[in-house]
């Protein structure tokens, strides 16, 4: 890991309580986040994502592993080091957390005066940041005079006025409706891009997942890969579908398999073909739009996988190690009934040829 990552975590573990009551919340978390990256941290409640955020935000000092924020090690950091780190970070809180007795501009100034900026420069910076979040006209209002979305934007202005290299946001859309939530997230995205900040966004809100450059998923204090999460979620949903509506499940699975075979027989799919397919599925097969999208995604994924393998020299999806595991697995399945029959060998060779793995087949399988 290079040292210039904005945030670098290595084997971070964290426990609450002591002795018999000790409860471990985080297990061996490791990741790094670079400048300009927007990372969304998701996970069910109690998964430890807030604890992780407070560790990165220097609100607690880490107990085990390494938490490096802007190159500063926060493992067992003292109060002074934590405060220093906090000043480098812009926080956006779940419920804006503005100071009620201060005007919007004074609230922003509270952040600014931490950096020792005052006088004319302060007034310029405040005016500028409030304009950026679209609150220029509300500078001298009190938080109670603003709507929820406006308050959250004021909170963003406060977090960003010091142009922090790291922005942390905890459920910034939790108390907002869909439209203002979206606007707030896009604002964070734009501002972070402009300033080149690294952003970590904790959220439950699946509507905003698409703004992320990367999604980190925590479950029971452990980091999970996205494919694991998606596979788990999808297979659970498919199982549900099969259980409660086996007929549709069968129908959709068959459809997508067949569609993929026919449409991709010639090796390429044009946009015109694609929209025609959607139209037919919708009008002839009488499928709902969501079902159409599902079949299309599933069949496209099959296609992408194949073409990915064809050009695997430039595509890391199936590197040599993985290709080896892939073939080992096929042989293992063939051996499962005791002997590897000739039919089975032929089939394995066919698959390997199809996926461009011929050079691996000829080595001794064991």
């Amino acid at each position: 890991m290079s040292t210039d990552a904005r945030i670098a975590l290595e084997d971070v573990s964290y426990s609450y309580g002591k002795g018999a009551l000790q409860k471990q919340i985080l297990f061996d978390i490791g990741t790094r986040i670079d400048a300009g990256q927007i990372v969304i941290l998701t996970g069910p409640s109690g998964s430890g994502k807030t604890t992780l955020l407070t560790l990165i935000g220097a609100l607690r000092s880490a107990q085990k592993g390494s938490v490096k924020v802007l190159g500063r090690e926060l493992l067992n950091a003292g109060e002074k080091a934590l405060i220093e780190a906090r000043r480098q970070i812009g926080y956006i809180f779940q419920s804006h957390n503005l100071l009620d007795s201060l005007t919007i501009s004074q609230n922003v100034q509270m952040a600014l005066q931490l950096g020792g900026i005052d006088g004319r420069e302060a007034s310029n910076r405040i005016a500028e940041v409030l304009d950026r979040v679209g609150l220029g006209e509300h500078a001298h209002k009190f938080p109670r005079e603003l709507s929820g979305g406006q308050k959250q934007r004021a909170g963003i202005a406060r977090a960003l006025v010091n142009r922090p290299q790291i922005v942390l946001a905890d459920e910034p859309t939790a108390s907002l409706d869909k439209q203002s939530g979206r606007a707030v997230v896009e604002l964070i995205q734009d501002l972070a891009r402009e300033d080149g900040s690294a952003v970590i966004l904790v959220t439950h809100d699946i509507r905003i997942l698409d703004i992320a450059d990367r999604i980190l998923h925590l479950e029971d204090g452990r980091m999970k890969s996205l494919s694991e999460v998606v596979s788990e979620g999808t297979s659970r949903m498919l199982n549900l579908l099969e259980k409660h509506d086996p007929h549709s499940a069968n129908y959709l699975a068959t459809f997508s398999f067949a569609l993929a075979r026919i449409a991709y027989a010639d090796g390429e799919v044009r946009d015109s073909e694609r929209s025609e397919m959607r139209r037919i599925l919708h009008e002839v097969a009488k499928l709902e739009p969501a079902e159409v999208a599902f079949i299309m995604e599933l069949s496209m994924m099959l296609k992408r996988t194949k073409s990915g393998l064809d050009t695997r020299m430039s595509n890391p999806a199936l590197d040599d190690i993985r290709a080896e595991h892939f073939l080992d697995s096929l042989y293992a399945i063939a051996r499962a009934d005791g002997i590897v029959s000739s039919e089975e060998l032929v089939e394995i060779e066919a698959i390997a040829a199809e996926f461009g793995l011929m050079q691996n087949v000829n080595r001794a399988p064991d």
Binding site: L53, L59, F93, L99, S101, M110, S123
Partner: protein, 385 residues
């Protein structure tokens, strides 16, 4: 506007009702402290009115004398002995006793009054009486009356000012009021008359001329009172006390402060005021910190130190102290003006005592602030997420 933000003041100002309640509470406490301390001060100042007014450098008294009004006698010879010491200019023998005074216009009304007799040839009362009055008391049965005595002695002041002759019965003996001097009342006495030693003995026939209550010794200019005191004490029998002005007053103040419950009661009252103020300010600040706990935790999460927040709370404490003190001082001043008229006690607010109460108020508020700070410790920035 873009200086640093006076957060403490803005937080207080944002809750006007609470601010007003706090200021009223502190004002009340300040008045309580002022009144109690001032009454206590008045007690001490009034208790030594005669000590202050009489002209002497050293005072001689019986060791049995606790306070002025209940003086015990000692041999006059002991006083005259001091005349033989170098530096002693004069010695005035003083007789003192509470006597019964009958109201000149309503003789059925009798009341105790302090009678003071002294040798008019000596200078001990030169500051209190003018030459004319000193001549007047040499005439039998003539006394000088304290014009600042309580009204219950009758309208002596008014009658004399109007040019009428006034006479009254003291210990069943009719005396003429030949003039007025000015000293005033205290917790121990309501008024007084001064006359010659001979007239005094006429009022109290059982008293002996050779047994006096106080001796007032005046030194020649350029002599140090303590030095002369030490010299005299080395030579004379130890059956009398010889005190400097300061010591003489201290004995009286000591009596009222320590031996009677009066000094204690007022001190206690002042402490009560302080405690009431302490509790009020604590409650207000505690509630304020409690209400803003989330905001303070937010500030900590942004990188503000505990010290900054501590200053915010202390700033609030001091603002409350100042805002509560000013009206408190104003009202206390009014109370004193009214109270001085009603009681004839020396109730007045000195700059020194105002300053002392101000310091006390600020200390009280800061102390409460310190207590409220313990709540601030629980503003955990990790809790705001």
């Amino acid at each position: 506007m873009f200086g640093s933000i006076p957060l403490g003041w803005l937080q207080l100002k944002a809750q006007k009702l609470r601010l007003v309640a706090a200021i009223m509470g502190i004002t009340f406490a300040v008045i309580l402290i002022f009144v109690q301390l001032e009454f206590r001060e008045a007690l001490f100042v009034s208790a030594v009115r005669y000590h202050t007014a009489m002209d002497y450098d050293l005072a001689m008294l019986s060791p049995k004398t606790d306070f002025m009004v209940s003086s015990k006698q000692f041999p006059r010879a002991r006083l005259y002995q001091t005349l033989g010491f170098e530096g002693v200019e004069s010695a005035t023998a003083v007789y003192m006793r509470l006597v019964s005074w009958r109201n000149p216009v309503d003789p059925s009304n009798a009341r105790n009054i302090l009678a003071i007799g002294f040798d008019p040839a000596e200078p001990g009362f030169d500051r209190l009486l003018n030459d004319e009055q000193i001549e007047a008391i040499k005439i039998p049965d003539q006394v000088i009356f304290d014009r600042r005595g309580r009204d219950e002695y009758g309208p002596v002041r008014e009658l004399l000012d109007a040019g009428e002759a006034v006479s009254a019965e003291i210990n069943d003996r009719r005396v003429a009021i030949a003039g007025m001097y000015e000293v005033g009342t205290s917790f121990g006495l309501d008024g007084g008359v001064i006359t010659s030693d001979l007239n005094f003995l006429r009022l109290l026939p059982t008293r002996k001329k050779s047994a006096i209550d106080f001796g007032l010794i005046k030194l020649e200019p350029g002599h140090d009172a303590e030095e002369v005191q030490a010299r005299i004490l080395k030579e004379i029998p130890q059956d009398v006390r010889l005190l400097t002005r300061k010591e003489f007053m201290a004995v009286e103040v000591q009596y009222w402060n320590k031996t009677t419950p009066i000094g204690y009661i007022f001190a206690f009252g002042a402490v009560m005021g302080l405690i009431v103020g302490l509790i009020i300010v604590y409650q207000i600040l505690f509630a304020d910190v409690q209400d803003h706990l989330k905001e303070y935790a937010t500030l900590k999460a942004m990188g503000y130190t505990h010290g900054y927040l501590r200053n915010v709370v202390l700033q609030q404490a001091i603002i409350l102290g100042v805002l509560g003190f000013l009206p408190g001082m104003g009202i206390a001043h009014l109370v004193f003006t009214k109270g001085a008229d009603a009681t004839r006690l020396p109730l007045e607010m000195s700059v020194g005592s105002a300053l002392a109460v101000f310091m006390l108020t600020v200390a009280m508020c800061a102390g409460s602030g310190m207590m409220a700070l313990r709540k601030l410790r629980s503003a955990d920035p990790a809790e705001v997420f």
